[in-house]
Symmetry: C2
Subunit: 457 residues, 2 copies
Amino acid sequence: MFDPVEKLKEFIRFPSVSTDSSFKEGMAGSQKFVSDLLGSMGFKVEVVKTDVHPLVLASRGGDPSWPHVVIYGHYDVQPADPVALWKTPPFEPTIVGNRIYGRGAADNKGPLMTNIAAVAALLEENPALPLRITFLVEGEEEMGSPSFPAFLEKYAGRLKEADFVYLSDTALPNEQQVVITCGLRGLALLDVVVTGAKGDLHSGLHGGVFRNPIQALSEILATLHTPEGLVNVPGFYDGVLSVEPWERAELSKLAGDGKAYMDFLGVDTFYTTPGFSPFESVRFQPTLEFNGIGGGYQGEGTKTVIPSKAFAKISCRLVPNQEPDRIKELVCKTILSRAPKGVKIDFVDQHKGDPYVVVPPGRPNTPQGQSPVLARAFRATDEAVSAVWGRPPLYLREGGSVPIIAEIKKSTGLDSVMLGLFLPEDNLHAPNESFNLDVMRKGVETAKRILRGITTS
Amino acid sequence: MFDPVEKLKEFIRFPSVSTDSSFKEGMAGSQKFVSDLLGSMGFKVEVVKTDVHPLVLASRGGDPSWPHVVIYGHYDVQPADPVALWKTPPFEPTIVGNRIYGRGAADNKGPLMTNIAAVAALLEENPALPLRITFLVEGEEEMGSPSFPAFLEKYAGRLKEADFVYLSDTALPNEQQVVITCGLRGLALLDVVVTGAKGDLHSGLHGGVFRNPIQALSEILATLHTPEGLVNVPGFYDGVLSVEPWERAELSKLAGDGKAYMDFLGVDTFYTTPGFSPFESVRFQPTLEFNGIGGGYQGEGTKTVIPSKAFAKISCRLVPNQEPDRIKELVCKTILSRAPKGVKIDFVDQHKGDPYVVVPPGRPNTPQGQSPVLARAFRATDEAVSAVWGRPPLYLREGGSVPIIAEIKKSTGLDSVMLGLFLPEDNLHAPNESFNLDVMRKGVETAKRILRGITTS
């Protein structure tokens, strides 16, 4: 059995930045590292070519009656910029205290290595373990998984043979409390571009005669929320999944102090859906946010121009059962209906992702006929977490988005058990990313127990 | 007597870009050229040091009972960028047909040379001309005349001895029609900066809980106009100078086709003050415009950030009797009163300029006790333009701003006679700037007649 920490060091040394083509070699090295490691564990490894970075599919077959888990992870990482802010070289893993520093340490090399190590240990202990395992390790997560839909189209048939997906690419709120993520918000993104006059004009010679596009854009954007902060787009909330009392109860065990959250944000007023606390709003309610706005002169000093164009970048976070395309349509329709006369409105379509929710067994809203293996996996997870961490996990929906989870569900029917392993202080996507080695140690033990647990009905 | 066109060529050859310190030599050369030329005409030349570029003050004294005119101009020019778009080198004057091409040809070297040549010719014809003349030629016009207030503070006493200011730094609407500019809009500029959370935040983890500053900014900006397009700031229109019927009548002789103006702008709807045509709105009504807006992610694609800050650049064009500081105060007060809770509002004060209006003699609203020399200058201008151009000038207010005109009025009491000499097709501030030599020829003759006219009561 290999040393998981030493293997993680090797893994981090590959600078596998997927979005930057100058890291081609690091990407190839990282992929080969994963393939070789899984191969050495007896897995049948297939490197699936995509338009950008290949995906590693590694399987351990067995009796078709055995349960079958797909373990997801990704071997690519975020860029290390700004490199100057790193205290240790980003691709030179460095252990300080109980932390290992390096780009990708927490997202996702550490958690992925945790699960690989658990499988390796388990198979060493019991080479006859009655469990089919497929590792699905992609190399495009940090660029939005552009090749994933095409991959799914081709491989959905094979994945459908599995029972569920297991992954560790979500967060722990703190070192004491494990969270099983049971819901992710979806996304619907678009830009709106407002055009006034056909060119930039002098505000002295032509000001006060026609609609300035910045003004028109502001007028439009100002209509998209109610004063209380609700999204003011007709039909936006249609079909929004209601929140079960058990979900609120579960969250209340975690959710902290509103005042402390205000201090963290640096604001003095919350705007949430009536009846929802800020913690509930983020996890259970959809949003429409402006991620960017631009137009005219933005430099120092002044330039008395009336710009021809102004734009805003809009993103909606969606909850079940909102459909991204329908939401985009509603937003566009609403904007068009509220645009003042005298300006032209154009839209730039951006990406999207479905929301996702999975209900653990034994809840009032657990779907009838839930896969028994999935139910067993949830129970095994609960038991494993309780045993290893001394406290049962919380089952919570999350405000963020991992679009591939809904995509997998859509094309294969598989649900996911998402056990978070990174902490808020791990600095994901930021300089000095690190991974807590105590969490890793507990994580290996937890994953071993979960996987073992699935095999015993 | 020198050849005005040859002298203008010499003048254009100095690359006198005031805003770019690498053109120091061109600035010094341009200043020396003006000083030497006026010196050679018998003027007593004083080079007034300022914090940036010196100002040339050149005077021809005489009997204190003689009328005294200050002729204003500027020896600096706009940058020539983008140089690649010039068909001839910007600082190599080139005559094609009846036009001389070069940076500054029309703004302001050509018109200034026109007036200098007129004075030279006049003094050659009649060395005993009973007229005191002070040339005031600045080198910071294209950078907003930053040293002008300090200059005025020191020299107001001397300038007060004069009777009026004469300048050619405004526009002719076309080659047939001379316009005497009788009003300029003022300016009040400021930025508004809205801060939400204390840093940029992930829209998945924190979206839907607090006020996004782009949203707050849009909501604020959207309140600053009525749906009809009026400025919706309490007190904004207080004291706005009413428009005299003669002003509307005068403008109606010039103002063209609304449809053609729409086509020029490329819009399909006008928003103007009720009771004002678009042409009237621009000249007689104040505005509040957004010159720029920015915040969050503005690049390609998407970034699901909730930015910490968003800002807008606001400029008001003012008409008499709006006071820039009071208007800034009203705008700030209004913005603060309309800002939603949960965001912080800051302002960045930018520059300002008073509006200006001068009424020619013989109008219903001509001030009692108007300076007789000023009245004589207006009459002489009317006669000169009628004689040389075959059509009397129009007396119009203009939408643009020349803040120094109001500053001179404020600190010295002097009004200005502004006779436009550049045409819309002269490409001011743009590549391939040129000056029409027929206009120059007529301009010299016109200025001679005006100056001669003032001396004969």
